[in-house]
Amino acid sequence: MPKKVIVLCYRKIIDSTNTNPWDRFVHEDSFAEFKMQAQYYNQPQQYNTFAEMLLHIPEAEKLHFLVSAAITGYLRQLNGIIPDVLDNLGRRFLTFEHFKFEIINSDIRHPEKHKIAINFFSKPLIWHDTIGDQLLVSQHKEEEAEIFTNLFAVQPFVSIHSIKNID
C-alpha cells in the first residue's frame, strides 16, 4: 500500500470514577480552576452548570482554554508519552506535543459532576501496513536502512486525526 503519514488522537475521559493518582489530580485541580475561572463569566453566581453558562454566556466557551492551565503541569509529568494507549506488546509508544483540553460537564456545586477530556495528538507516524486488526506504524523521520515499528490495535477513544499520502 502507498505509505501514509497519520496523526492519532486519543481522547482521555476523566470523571469522578477515575482512580489512578494522575487522573485524580487532573480531576481535582481542573475542578478547582473551573470554579475560580467561571466566576469571571458568571457574575453574580447565576448559573451552576457549565452547560447553563455556555447557553447564557457564549464567552464562557473560553473556559476550556482557561481551565487547561490547571493541567499542563500534569501533562509535563507524562514526559511526552501518551498514556493508556498500548501497542501489541503492552507498551505505551505514542509521543505527543499537542493537546486540547475540554470540559465535558461541570457543576460548581458538585465535584462529582465534573467530567473532562484531554485530547492527545500524537507526533506524526508512518502507517506501513495493516495486519489483521492491527496497524503497523513507525515514527515519522528521515529514511534509514532499518526503522523500528510498533504494531497496535485501534482501541476505543483512539482515532486517526489526520492523514497525508507520501511518495
Binding site: W22, Q39, A153
Partner: protein, 243 residues
C-alpha cells in the same frame, strides 16, 4: 530522539519481570490459608476477557501535585516586547484599605501584536502544551499585599485602550474583584514611548473613548508607569477590594 524513546520503552519492558515474581509470591501466600478466612468481599468487577492488551510496563512516572501553570512571576513565555515589571498592591476596603495578605491575583494581557493566548479557530485545533498560556499569571499577595509580575508592555488592538486584566480572589478562590488597569497617556508616557510597537498609534482608542475606562473621570483605574525603552518599565497599581 525517536530511537532513544524506543530504547527507553524496551528498558521499561526489561524491568517488568519483578511483577511476575510478585504475582507468584501472591499465589503462594493464598495457598494453604486457614479456614477462618480473612478480608472482606471485594467490589472490583471483572474486566478480564475484554479484548485488550494489558499494560506490561513498570508503573510511573509517579504524579505529584502541581499548581496551575499560571502560578509564576515571569509570565513572558518568550513573547518579545519592552520589559515591564508589574507591582499590584491589594488593600482591604473592610479594613481601612490595609494590606490584604494571602489573596490570589490573576493578571492577563495581550502581546505586542494585540493577541491573547487562547485556543484559536476551529474545534480541531490543538496547542503545544509547553507555551500555551503566555502573558497570563497568578501570584499570592505577601504581608504587604503585594504581588510582582515580570512581563512585556502590552500592545493594543482595535476598539480598546492598552490595558491589563486583573482578577482578585481570596485564598479559597472566591472572586473578590474583576477589573482592568489603564495606562497614562500623553507625551513622555510609556504609552507614547512604546508607540504601539510596529503598529504605531493610528486607529488607537484612548482612555476617554474606551468603553471600559471612559467613565473613570478621576483616573482611579490608571496605573503609575515609569521607565524607558532600554531599561524597561515599572508599573504600580493599588487595588482595594472588600475582603
Amino acid at each position: 530522539m525517536e530511537r532513544k524513546n524506543f530504547i527507553r520503552s524496551l528498558m521499561i519492558g526489561a524491568v517488568s519481570t519483578p511483577v511476575i515474581i510478585e504475582a507468584c509470591k501472591k499465589s503462594s501466600i493464598t495457598d494453604g490459608t486457614s479456614t477462618s478466612g480473612s478480608g472482606t468481599a471485594g467490589t472490583t468487577a471483572s474486566t478480564n476477557g475484554t479484548c485488550t492488551v494489558a499494560p506490561t510496563e513498570t508503573e510511573g512516572p509517579f504524579p505529584t501535585k502541581v499548581p496551575a501553570s499560571y502560578v509564576r512571576s515571569d509570565i513572558t513565555d518568550g513573547r518579545t516586547g519592552y520589559k515591564m515589571t508589574v507591582k499590584i498592591t491589594v488593600g482591604n476596603l473592610n479594613n481601612n484599605c490595609a494590606a490584604l495578605a494571602g489573596a490570589l491575583v490573576d493578571i492577563w494581557h495581550c502581546d505586542a501584536e494585540g493577541n491573547y493566548s487562547e485556543y484559536g479557530g476551529s474545534g480541531m485545533q490543538s496547542t503545544n502544551y509547553q507555551s500555551v498560556h503566555f502573558l497570563r499569571g497568578r501570584q499570592t499577595t505577601d504581608a504587604n499585599g503585594l504581588v510582582t509580575f515580570t512581563t512585556i508592555f502590552p500592545g493594543w488592538y482595535t476598539g480598546r485602550a492598552t490595558h491589563i486584566h486583573v482578577h482578585v480572589y481570596n485564598a479559597a478562590g472566591t472572586s473578590l474583584n474583576v477589573t482592568q488597569i489603564a495606562f497614562p497617556e500623553g507625551s513622555g508616557t510609556s504609552l507614547a514611548l512604546v508607540n504601539g510597537y510596529t503598529k504605531g498609534m493610528t486607529g488607537y482608542t484612548y482612555n476617554n473613548a474606551d468603553n471600559v475606562f471612559s467613565d473613570d473621570k478621576t483616573g482611579v483605574q490608571i496605573a503609575a508607569v515609569s521607565g524607558t525603552l532600554t531599561a524597561g518599565f515599572d508599573l504600580t497599581f493599588k487595588l482595594n477590594v472588600k475582603a
